[in-house]
């Protein structure tokens, strides 16, 4: 084996992340020489084959970038197309889209908190092993996840790649009575989310507080889902139309995913921590109270506490879904007529993992001329590497196994979605 100053640590394939990748860390004593998140998930080239497809196909095609957050893709695509085509939707369609998105947040956060992340804190390889000792916890997680899936299935026919969302509205909208059966389960889910937040706040986590630039949407009256300006704690305040003026993608050799940087600033963070820190005042009182009870008050800088913030967002999403059940009335028509025209449309929405940006250029027949998609994990990837760079020096005294585990956890804090980012994980740690 190796001495603390000169050793190589290798993990072949990182688990409990969505997609395929590797992690490479090179250390010389306490100095971190190189950190690379290698994404070997094969490129699927969506932006290339979207060209020549019609505007109306983009929501269903881009959904196939990610099976974990298809609604995020549908929503960003739809909003970008509606911007291009000058469409305003009925307020009830807008509300229904928020409900749809809440369903995805509940499903996705439930999956990450219980099945992917909690095992790290409790020392298990997976949720199935966890269930042998903590059956009720895992069962609660599965039921919570299912409550989210029930919303999605009711509105869209199935959990993954639902079929109802369309440019201009929905192919089909439910009646009030159809939504009613969701209520009882969502009430349970709200209580379960509060219990989840309390439970995960007891998990021990290391002290680690990088100086992040948090970037998230911000809306004047709501916790952000589909709309808002793109803001940061360093004074950024822009519309989605200006996104590409401020953020730049770079193609690095070690990854099939493009890396995003804030021009003039560097790496930045999107996702639950950013949303929470920049929009705490927009959370409903009940979610704010749960956060305070769990000693989560903005700014939360420790990425290992993102599990608690996800739980607070679960509280928000269940509460918001219940609010929408009260307020909803079917719109006069499920969707408005759409007339193609030559135009450019851009939109950013809050996927469970953070901002998802889409831009489409259409010709006069509504065919896509160019497309650009920037998923949250591409935006977080340079920041994940920076986290590892900052985390490693404090761990040199630890065993190889401990360093590896910490590094993997640091990556899982992001709930990285590698399938999205290619357009991730195996740890190679070189210490000399």
């Amino acid at each position: 084996m190796s001495t603390p100053r000169n050793r190589t640590i290798k993990v072949d394939y990182m688990a409990r992340v969505e997609g395929e990748g590797a992690l490479y860390v090179k250390m010389k004593g306490e100095r971190v020489e190189d950190v690379q998140l290698k994404i070997f998930e094969p490129p699927r080239l969506f932006e290339a084959f979207l060209r020549g497809r019609t505007f109306s196909e983009a929501p269903d095609i881009t959904a196939r970038i990610c099976g974990i957050c298809p609604i995020a893709y549908q929503m960003s695509a739809i909003h970008a197309m509606e911007r291009a085509l000058g469409i305003d939707v009925h307020p009830m369609v807008r509300l229904l889209r928020r409900l749809f998105y809440c369903g995805e947040w509940i499903e996705s956060h439930g999956l990450h908190v219980f099945l992917l992340h909690a095992p790290d804190f409790l020392g298990y390889p997976d949720a199935i092993a966890l269930a042998r000792d903590h059956k009720e916890t895992v069962e609660m997680g599965l039921r919570l996840k299912k409550a989210g899936n029930q919303i999605v299935t009711l509105l869209g026919g199935r959990e993954i790649h639902p079929v109802s969302a369309a440019v201009g509205g929905f192919h089909r909208v439910p009646s009030r009575a159809e939504l009613e059966p969701l209520r009882e389960e969502l009430k349970w889910a709200l209580d379960a989310s509060i219990a989840t937040a309390k439970l995960v706040s007891t998990f021990e986590c290391i002290t680690f507080e990088p100086d992040y630039e948090f970037v998230a949407l911000r809306h004047p009256t709501e916790y952000p889902l589909n709309e808002g300006r793109i803001v940061s704690n360093r004074g950024l305040d822009i519309s989605a139309d200006e996104y590409e003026d401020h953020f730049q993608e770079r193609h690095v050799k070690h990854s099939n995913a493009l890396h995003s940087y804030h021009r003039g600033f560097g790496s930045y963070l999107v996702g639950p921590l950013s949303r929470f820190n920049l929009n705490f005042d927009k959370l409903p009182e009940i979610a704010q109270q749960v956060a305070r009870d769990c000693r989560l008050t903005p700014p939360v800088r420790n990425p290992f506490r993102s599990i608690g913030v996800r739980a607070v967002e679960l509280v928000f999403a269940c509460h918001e879904a219940l609010r929408i059940l009260d307020a909803y009335e079917p719109p006069p028509e499920p969707r408005v007529k759409v007339r193609p025209r030559s135009a450019i449309g851009r939109a950013a929405t809050e996927a469970p993992r953070g901002i998802l940006y889409h831009r489409y250029e259409l010709d006069e027949h509504g065919l896509i001329v160019t497309a650009k998609i920037v998923p949250p994990t591409s935006q977080n990837q340079p920041r994940i590497e920076d986290d590892l760079r900052e985390l490693m020096p404090g761990l040199v005294a630890e065993s190889d196994a401990e360093i590896t585990l910490r590094a993997e956890q640091a990556v899982r804090n992001y709930d990285p979605c590698i399938s999205c980012a290619t357009h991730f994980l195996k740890l190679n740690l070189d210490r000399t």
């Binding site: 072949d12 394939y13 990182m14 688990a15 409990r16 992340v17 969505e18 997609g19 998930e41 094969p42 490129p43 699927r44 080239l45 969506f46 932006e47 290339a48 084959f49 060209r51 497809r53 019609t54 095609i61 196939r64 970038i65 990610c66 099976g67 974990i68 298809p70 999956l111 099945l115 992917l116 997976d126 949720a127 199935i128 092993a129 269930a131 895992v138 069962e139 599965l142 996840k145 299912k146 899936n149 869209g156 026919g157 199935r158 959990e159 993954i160 790649h161 079929v163 109802s164 369309a166 192919h171 089909r172 993608e249 193609h251 690095v252 050799k253 099939n256 493009l258 499920p334 399938s419």
Partner: protein, 262 residues
Amino acid sequence: MRSKSQARPKVGVFKFASCDGCQLSLLDAEDELLAVARAIDIAYFPEASSIMKKGPYDIGLVEGSVTTHHDAERIQHIRRQCRTLITIGACATAGGIQALRNWAEVDEFVRAVYASPQFISTLKTSTSIAEHVPVDFELRGCPISKHQLLEVISATLAGRKPNVPTYSVCMECKRRGNVCTMVAHGTPCLGPVTQAGCGALCPAYNRGCYGCFGPMESPNTASLSQQFRVLGQSSGDITRAFRGFNAWAWPFRQASGEGHRS
């Protein structure tokens, strides 16, 4: 291949080019997941577990299509490791939406997405698993139906043929009592040529089927294309309709015409 006859069957879940949606279907079986995990040994499923046991496996579930040289070799190795190999989803059974590259010049595609194309290594085509190795059962759908997945797993364990119908979405539509979108609303629908399994979802949501379960057994695509023309669809529209999530499945590939750009 099972070392002890008493041991739970070992199952591996393998990923190729895909969106992860099909393997997620297993985790979306919330009510059944823990029971399934008691009945089988989920020996390799990196997306869900840090434990990655070595093969051989009794059942291999393969998601995703082959798009790189490395993956073309990996599937050979996986095939040797799995007694029964089941492909799950349109990517694995037909090449997926990423098979649209098969009509294009791939280098140009890569240049359209990446600033430094020389860093990217990819094949010119996206192909199904069965184009590379023998496959024991192909489960359709983009994504698959979790109920069909559970049926295929239990059938395989019981050594019987999975009860997965090969008739069309039309049949399911009639059973569900849907109004035919094509007859009633003139909405183009791939239901007559698409394999059942989804429960005729799209027509129930007031839209035409877009073929996500792939071609049924002996589909009459020529007659459907003719019907589409009557409904006012252009040849570009028809090409796009067949070039979806199962574009490279032979009957759809043929029906999409060879002369059009995707």
